[in-house]
Symmetry: C2
Subunit: 108 residues, 2 copies
DNA sequence: CGGTTATATAACCATGTAGTAATATAGAAA
DNA sequence: TTTCTATATTACTACATGGTTATATAACCG
């Protein structure tokens, strides 16, 4: 969780993650699509790999990087635990709106 | 989104966030509960406030900090967009397990 | 073998920031 | 007013890391 959040704190890493969401990619494609220097991409990929967000699989002379679901699932559960922050409010708003409607109906 | 992730990259800030999940708190309570130096807490609170994760409300000579739902909701939606990463796999696993069960049944 | 391509690593610089200590501000209370 | 309490800010150090350039490694192809 801690490493996951640290890895996602960097915008270029997030861009890489979002690119990988559509499937595994070799490094050169990431470099081309994001228009970043290759060593920088390799550096970020290493960070992501050590944080457990991606795994790498050699294929010929290129290396395919793909997302590792675990950390995202963990993050999803953690963020979910904050849902009551806004759902409670929406519930109250919903109840309020229904109350309005009820009053309208009874008035008619 | 970007500022939100940057704010959550720091463990002590996450601790503050999780403490505030149970409701608004004055600074001195945060300091006491997390056993951190007061200037450090104020610094992190400022960071969190400028990232939009908390709002502050003066009350007497203390200042009550509370979570701002917006960024968490946004983060929740973003993380949700990665759900297919593991749900697809679970679907496939589920289908596989059901297939096993079906074969067992027909064999009996 | 040599040459080319794909990727990683090393060395370096610049910047941001976590943590600390001291001080400032501001409100409450005497 | 002075004093006390709560919080913020400033100045500083130390360290991590993003970005760049150059080089290394390693697999492929001739």
């Amino acid at each position: 969780m801690e490493g996951t959040l640290a890895a996602l704190a960097e915008p270029n890493r997030v861009r890489i993650i979002e690119l990988l969401r559509s499937g595994p990619r070799p490094v050169n494609e990431i470099v081309a699509e994001l228009a970043l220097p290759q060593p920088l991409v390799s550096k970020h990929l290493r960070f992501l790999r050590e944080a457990g967000l991606v795994r790498v699989r050699p294929q010929g002379q290129q290396r395919l990087y793909e997302l590792e679901p675990g950390p995202f699932q963990e993050l999803d559960r953690w963020v979910s635990s904050f849902r009551r922050l806004w759902e409670d409010r929406l519930d109250r708003l919903d109840a309020y709106l229904q109350d309005i409607q009820r009053k309208k109906r009874t008035r008619k």
